[in-house]
Amino acid sequence: MPALMMQPDLSNLVVSGPVRNAARTAWQQHGWPGPRVESWRFTKLDRLGARDITPASSLSPTTAGDGLAMAQGMGAHAIRIINGIIDPASLEALPTGLTAGNLHDDQDAQDAMMALAPPDHPISNLSMAVMSGGLVLDVAGEVPKSLALIFEGDDASLSAHPVVLIRLAPAARMVMAEWHQSAVGLSAPLIGLDLAKKASLDFVKIQTEDSATSHLSATGVLLAEKARLAGFSLSVGGEMARLETHVTMAGEGADCQLSAIYLGRGRQHHDITTVLNHDIGHCTSDQVIRGVLDDRARGVYQGKVRVAKDAQKTDGQQMSRALLLSRKAEVDAKPELEIYADDVVCAHGATVGELDATQLFYLTSRGIPEANARAMLIEAFLIDAIDSVEIDSLSKILLNVATQWMAQTGLTSHGD
């Protein structure tokens, strides 16, 4: 038992119901992954395990931050989740088609959540056991308004463990943004997305946590027949961030776009980990990953596409490209294919490069200042990924956050 990495200790935590009790037991048994666990080879949690953080237990007032402005900008209904706890006020006047329930009281939903949750992931156990806040959202029909989930929190001695299960009924459609902007010690959201037949979800996840925050999110997705998920993560904030998503395609004709951009500077560590299970044939998945790293930042992309024996006619694509702006920045990209079927179209690739000196010279020779020229080339590097996002309000958010990141290093593509 990795006793050293037991933070936080849940032995005295009172937990109700069999699902959360099982999660608590599993957490007490396994804790954080040890140094030899392959899927955590590039992202070490030693510092996190040694840190003194207490699971949050109450709402506290926080500063509004950019999340609400983003929600307003896209005309979305905002649900605020503060220290991992759902703000009850934001569950009032939900858009048509949305029904909210309390996950604390719903054993069936907890079961369903655990079935979706990334297996063997520390946050699946820890956050299910602690469950600072638990929300079930049922979605039916075409939701007329976008949904924004805003994760906040101001206390660095706390860890936040919200658990959110979103279930889309057959043919339901929704546009959603997750916005993580907390300044807690550990932000550990556990999220489940369950899409029934022909349901469609467009979503972005923006990770812009405080620079001292560790962000470990675990997301589980289930796609039924002809369900469609178009997801895009942008990881910018945090001291260390791992965004892990597991998708299971369980019905023919399911389509999963799961792309990500990570932007790192200083000593930031960004990890994008995905597992895509093609359990059945005739499904498509596509992952476009772009990373930009400056200073001594480190980036990790681990993407596994697993094609089951009978999953014929699978189309699974993954492409990771990283741009290093500094010689001390580092990237580990590991796209993986595990194919047991024989009639599939799968491809993967990974590249790492620097800004092209000739392109930079061409731009500066036109009078464009070097910082702007660099920003233009970085934006160009990211733009095809962002352009693939079909919903304008979502691609606009991605572009804004990326542009802001560049402005913070004095890189701006549009003059001073």
């Binding site: 000196a357 000739t358 392109q359 010279f361 061409y362 731009l363 500066t364 020779s365 036109r366 009078g367 464009i368 200042p369 070097e370 702007n372 020229a373 233009m376 080339l377 934006e379 160009a380 590097f381 733009i383 095809d384 593509s413 549009h414 003059g415 001073d416």
Partner: protein, 251 residues
């Protein structure tokens, strides 16, 4: 009279290899100078060094705009001081939209001059008009910079940029290569329109043909990193007829 562009005994090397070996040139406002010379003689290197590209060691001499040395200036500073280089091989910029590229370049210059940024609509109109004169389609303007352009289209796009930036010093590195006869005429007309009393141009070419369209005031022969011979426009004809053999002894 101070020359608009003066190259004074310029030496430059790449690594240990000397490429420019004491170049002297003096370009006054209103003049067009042509440079001819064999492959590998250092013409493009000279144009890059003038524009301030990294990777060359300046081992001697100076480059002055209006009497001020620009060797310490970065490429963008030199550009905003009035220098423009039309590349022999224009660079593709996938993902960089043509219009925003042109606007960024023009705005950089305007900000330097203490002017406001261009009005977007007026700018698009102006670009379309100038592009039309150079036979550049709207479709090309919408694409990423130089991406999917033919060789000749790239050259026209260089001249479009020059027309928009209105530099005081235009350096054209083999703008004629890759152009068909009609395009050569269009591009030359574009360059001739930019001839002005306050401007100078340095036209690098292998062919007398271009100089029929853009008639130079002076012609220089660059060979092995040095100007070996200078003369009037008839020097180009001489080269066309008898090649570069024998140029050396004339130096």
């Amino acid at each position: 009279m101070t020359a608009l562009l003066e190259v004074r005994n310029l030496y430059a090397s790449v690594g240990d290899k000397p490429i420019l070996k004491g170049i002297n040139l003096s370009l006054n406002a209103g003049e067009v100078h042509a440079i001819m010379g064999p492959n590998g003689s250092g013409k493009s290197t000279m144009s890059y060094v003038l524009a301030g590209r990294d990777g060359y060691e300046i081992t001697g001499g100076d480059v002055l705009i209006n009497g001020d040395s620009v060797l310490e200036l970065s490429p963008d500073e030199r550009a905003r001081a009035g220098m423009f280089l039309a590349f022999q091989y224009p660079v593709e910029l996938p993902g960089v939209g043509g219009m925003s590229f042109l606007r960024a370049a023009v705005n950089a210059r305007r900000l330097e001059a203490g002017e406001n940024e261009v009005d977007q609509l007026a700018f698009v109109k102006m670009v379309r008009a100038k592009a039309g004169e150079l036979g550049i389609s709207d479709d090309m303007l919408k694409r990423a910079v130089n991406v999917g352009f033919s060789g000749g289209e790239k050259k026209r796009y260089e001249i479009l940029q020059m027309a928009l930036l209105e530099p005081s010093i235009g350096i054209l590195d083999e703008t004629d290569s890759g152009l068909d006869v009609d395009a050569l005429k269009i591009v030359s007309d574009g360059v001739n329109m930019l001839r002005a009393p306050e401007r100078t141009m340095l036209v690098i070419t292998h062919y007398q043909r271009l100089l029929n369209h853009i008639v130079p005031d002076h012609v220089h022969i660059l060979a092995d990193g040095k100007i070996r011979k200078s003369g009037g426009k008839e020097l180009a004809l001489e080269v066309e007829e008898s090649g570069y053999a024998g140029i050396d002894d004339a130096a």
